[in-house]
């Protein structure tokens, strides 16, 4: 072994990390080589020098300096964590709660808005009922049966006449039936289904009420009659949804004929005569940019009122579309700009008592079609 090789192994020898063979080789070499011996001593000395190097002390507030940076870093890290990487055991329940809250809120809002949606849906399908329902309600009111015992019968007899006008043998029915297939595809299927459902739901209740009324004939009286009429009027729009759909023109024709029939005799049980204005008397149907508003106007003199109204309509720049007059009642149909309607309404209130559903004016449109039912 050369001195260089021995010197390379000396650190291992010094740390006692060599094999016995290597150790004996080095020891035998060291016994005669002064240079390598000297090298070993230098090695020990250099190691001692290193080991006894004085330690440096950290500067003052070194820990605080480090920790201030650590805290700064931790704050930033926490902020990011809070924003994006929540612990999963907090994040998931929070997300579930939020989803549930949104679902509940959506359901609540849907239910809250449903009453407003229903008249819109039901009205858009059977347009004829705009004209018919107030009149029928009034007829029910006016043709009150004399005794409580007769009341259920009158209600029972009214039902078919309201819900199934085509079944009557008069030419109206024929016209109705004839028109039916032509306009059957008019309403949206969903609306019809909904209407059907509501009818199905209503029927048993009506039957129950009728049975209850039959049973309790002795309790008959004016209040009961009014209640039953009121109930009938409230149920009507839903029941009427069953009717086949007709076009606007066909409805107008029908309305005219009904008015004519009303003129013939007050005692007849035509739908028109039995009709009366509903308490809230109006429903609206919104088309693309116009709304139909039903107004019930109670006056002393119908013919005079019609003249006055026509004057007001002309002043308001309205276009009178239809005018039908019967005994003690009349129907005016006009179209006007939406902004003029408010002033017109004020003028109407000077003529008589106006009843209409103000909710129909909640959505602004360009033009309004006003159906004014005038009665004493």
């Amino acid at each position: 072994m050369t001195c260089q090789e021995i010197q390379n192994l000396l650190p291992g020898y010094w740390e006692n990390l060599l094999s016995p063979e290597e150790r004996s080789l080095i020891e035998s070499h060291l016994s005669f080589c002064d240079l390598c011996r000297r090298s070993l001593i230098d090695l020990k000395d250099s190691e001692n020098l290193l080991k006894h190097l004085e330690e440096v002390e950290p500067p003052p507030f070194f820990e605080q300096r480090i920790m201030s940076r650590i805290r700064e870093e931790a704050g930033r890290k926490k902020g990011l964590l809070r924003k994006f990487f929540f612990p999963i055991y907090i994040k998931i329940p929070l997300q579930v709660m939020a989803t549930l809250l949104i679902a509940v809120l959506a359901a609540y809002l849907y239910q809250k808005n449903e009453p407003e949606m229903k008249p819109m849906l039901s009205f858009s399908v059977p347009y004829s009922e705009i004209q018919k329902s107030p009149m029928e309600a009034e007829s029910l009111k006016s043709a009150q049966p004399p005794a409580g015992a007769k009341e259920p019968e009158s209600l029972q007899s009214n039902k078919p006449s309201i819900t199934a006008t085509p079944s009557s043998p008069d030419p109206d029915g024929a016209l109705h039936k004839k028109d039916q297939p032509r306009f059957a595809a008019a309403p949206p299927a969903a609306a019809r289904e909904k209407a059907g459902e509501s009818v199905e739901l209503m029927r048993p209740k009506e039957e129950e009420k009728a049975a209850a009324e039959k049973a309790g004939t002795s309790l008959g009286g004016l209040r009961d009659k009014e209640d039953s009429v009121h109930r009938q009027a409230l149920h009507k729009p839903r029941v009427e949804e069953q009717e086949p759909i007709q076009s606007f023109d066909a409805e107008e024709k029908e309305g005219k004929k009904k008015l004519e029939m009303a003129e013939k005799g007050a005692g007849e049980k035509s739908p028109l005569l039995r009709s009366a204005p509903t308490p809230l008397g109006s429903v609206s149907a919104k088309t693309e940019n116009r709304t139909v508003i039903n107004l019930n106007l109670q006056v002393r003199d119908t013919s005079q009122a019609v003249r006055q109204i026509e004057e007001r309509l002309t002043q308001a720049g309205a276009r009178i579309l239809e005018r039908t007059q019967g005994e003690g009642r009349a129907l005016l149909k006009a179209e006007m700009a939406y902004p003029k309607f408010a002033s017109f309404l004020n003028q109407l209130e000077e003529i008589g008592r106006v009843v209409f559903n103000k909710e129909t004016l909640s959505v602004p449109v360009d033009r309004v079609t006003v159906l004014i039912h005038i009665f004493k």
Partner: protein, 214 residues
């Protein structure tokens, strides 16, 4: 003189367990997000880590910066520390990495006109440097211990970085071969051979600078 926290240099059973347990509990608390638990670890290891960095870099101010960055880096990645090695070993490796990065940056900053003492391929320049060092420092020969230490530090600085690392870890920090292997991620045989070479190189350097080592 020097407080030695490495297991084989102190009580091999009891103290080792206590130290390890202490670090572990604080590390666990840090991983749970308790920032203040890290203060304990800083307090406990700052001096040792500063000495490690100082012996590697040779400049006190720069060593302080490196240690600060190393602690910050350790805090950021404490979630990755799984306890395979002791916390001090893991922290030591971070300090060494930071020190290496710092030395590289310094070398780049000084540029080509300034010789890199750590360049292993520039043997001629290194020899020249050591000669200059000895001339420079010979003026201060026989002076106080501080001067001697400065010389030893300069000698350390002219060693190759990997040799310096093992020397500092073994002789100054008192680490075991196993701990050095864990810190530098080297097998024991490589640690040993590198350490032998480093010892011889330091001895030669010291002989040139100081002359008599006694």
């Amino acid at each position: 003189m020097r407080e030695n926290v490495f297991p084989e240099k102190i009580n091999p059973v009891d103290t080792h367990r206590i130290i390890e347990d202490d670090d572990e509990s604080y590390v666990l608390r840090c991983r749970r997000g308790e920032t203040e638990a890290f203060a304990h670890l800083v307090r406990r290891h700052q001096k040792k880590m500063l000495n490690l960095a100082y012996r590697m870099i040779g400049d006190y101010g720069e060593a302080c910066d490196v240690v600060q960055e190393a602690f910050l880096s350790a805090f950021r990645s404490i979630g990755k520390f799984r306890g395979e090695a002791r916390f001090s070993t893991w922290l030591g490796s971070i300090v060494l990495n930071q020190a290496r990065g710092h030395l590289k940056q310094r070398a780049v900053r000084l540029g080509r006109e300034e010789m890199s003492l750590d360049d292993p391929h520039n043997e001629e320049k290194r020899r020249f440097s050591i000669a200059n060092l000895s001339v420079e420092d010979s003026v201060a020969e026989g002076l106080e211990r501080r001067d001697l230490e400065a010389k030893i530090q300069r000698c350390l600085s002219v060693l190759e970085a990997d040799q310096r690392e093992v020397l500092v870890l073994r002789d100054i920090q008192g680490c075991s071969y196993e701990a050095i292997g864990q810190t530098l991620k080297l097998p024991p045989g490589t640690v040993r051979s590198r350490l032998f070479r480093a010892r011889n190189a330091l001895k030669d350097s010291l002989l040139k600078v100081i002359g008599e080592l006694r």
